[in-house]
């Protein structure tokens, strides 16, 4: 065994005699950190879906999770905008996005003790109107760089809509109830993540192994047609896995339709976020603080942002849920 090799091995291997280069050691620490963070989050998230689905405490914990993620995502979009020389407002953007999240929370027919709250407690039009007051009137009083007023306020809106609607639809999906199947919302959220992430995984492996024909060299130079096929294969596998485990009520048509639908909007959503980062000249949306070992929030949610409303629209109009 060569000394330089030992660094990458498991702890059972004897320590190297020679001083190691910093780079590989950091990579290993990064991988450990990445896997630990993912494991902790996965265990917590699956517990939330399994025990929290359909409960008031579960709904509230999901709400806090979405609210924190919205904060992180709007912050990253604000930093991207600042890097391009604009002055978007973190506070106004987060406030507007949280109002949208609250809309989706109340729209889910919240049960508080004995009574069911009016689903129209905070209509979407009112959330958007107050969001507009925060973003535009707030800029009149607090924006110190008015030479960029138009793009700055526009980017604040973009961040608010992207995170507020994207994660708001997750909240709405999680809180969907059904009279025949228990924990419908938890099943749908699991399906959203499994279909989307198996698609990402399929694209990565098939693309790395067989990728030869470039898909969109100007937008994302690494993407290939083989990766695209791998993505849809992953989506199909994910949707089929859902059908045979937690969503037995899905027909084969549902499996294929959801794989195609979520696969398409997920991949396009991934490309959209890539063009934003590229236009700001960064490779990692995490400009500063982020999830340990995982890069930025935007990089984590980009495929889910458009997939969540697409899944909600599908189950709403095809299955009559929500």
């Amino acid at each position: 065994m060569t000394k330089s090799k030992a660094i990458h091995n498991s702890p059972a291997v004897p320590p190297p005699a020679l001083p190691a280069a910093a780079k590989p050691a950091f990579d290993r620490r990064n991988m450990v950190l990445r896997i630990s963070t993912a494991l902790v989050f996965a265990v917590f998230f699956l517990s939330l879906l399994y025990w929290g689905g359909g409960t008031t405490s579960g709904n509230l914990v999901y709400f806090v999770l979405m609210a924190l993620s919205i904060f992180a995502g709007v912050r990253e979009l604000t930093l991207l905008g600042a890097k391009m020389g604009f002055n978007p407002s973190l506070y106004a953007g987060v406030a507007a996005a949280w109002l949208m999240l609250m809309h989706f929370f109340f729209a889910s027919r919240v049960v508080m003790g004995e009574r069911t709250l009016d689903p129209d407690t905070l209509p979407l039009w009112l959330a958007l109107f107050f969001g507009a007051l925060f973003i535009h009137f707030g800029a009149l009083f607090f924006d110190s760089r008015r030479d960029q007023a138009l793009p700055s306020q526009a980017i604040t809106w973009l961040g608010a809509l992207y995170m507020g609607l994207g994660l708001g639809f997750q909240q709405r999906l999680f809180m969907i109830g059904s009279s025949t199947v228990t924990k419908t919302g938890s099943r749908l959220i699991l399906a959203l993540y499994v279909i989307t992430w198996l698609g990402d995984t399929g694209a990565y492996f098939i693309g790395s192994l067989f990728g030869r024909h470039k898909l969109a060299p100007k937008v994302s130079p690494k993407k290939s047609w083989e990766g695209l096929a791998g993505n849809y294969l992953g989506n199909l596998l994910g949707a089929w896995l859902m059908k045979v485990t937690v969503c037995p009520d899905w027909s084969p048509v549902d499996v294929v339709a959801l794989a195609l639908l979520l696969g398409t909007v997920g991949q396009l959503g991934d490309l959209v976020e890539s063009t934003w980062k590229r236009s700001a000249g960064v490779k990692d949306s995490n400009v500063g603080m982020g999830i340990p070992g995982h890069g930025g929030m935007l990089d984590r949610v980009d495929s889910l942002i458009f997939a969540a409303p697409a899944l909600f629209a599908y189950v709403h109009y095809v299955h009559g849920l929500g």
Copy 2:
């Protein structure tokens, strides 16, 4: 009669003896054009309110009027963005804004012959989701200048929301029905315009005559505290005029509350549009074609954009309408 003058005069007026400078002659022609256009529009608009209120044809004509105004406004915001070096999409912005307008149309419980359409025919979340697909996915395929992807897509959203929501709420107000008072929607639209425009007029005259103390020199150098007071006086006069004529059901509290509410959001909305124009380096939102003699669409609607949702929210929550 000199040849050059004759062109601009009305036939009945005697010709001047001295040759006139070109400037006043041009101003006069502009004023004639301005007044003619305003008169034609006012006559048409008042007829629409008087005879069209509560009728299917009136609702549809109002819809077409809003749809055309949305096109003109989004176009001006797109041109402002282009002037700053960005590449917002006119088509995606107009499509997204028209979807929002359609939402407000259907949300008004449209009666078609024998049956009432489902007010949830096009929910706002679905209009926004399709808008997002047009704006973001459209840019992936058609945006030729991706170095500005983030601000360009953001400005497309801003234009869509500003015009789509702002004029969508007017459509919603116009179509409000009431079981006790006929043509409630027409009365509310008239109140919206009279309160807002008497405010603008009051600010102009009081500000021009007595304006000494600057209000917000950085945002709008011409505004004064005296003009602000004149604005609220105009708003109050407008609201009171509405109460004594077409809105006898308003209480004195309604008069004061609506004057303060519409006056405040109207003036701030006016300032917001000023900062956008200033940041783009233009004085007139009409970058090219516009309403004859009246400048740009944005300059016409800026105070109404925020006043319409404020008025809708007031009559919805205070009077239980809509």
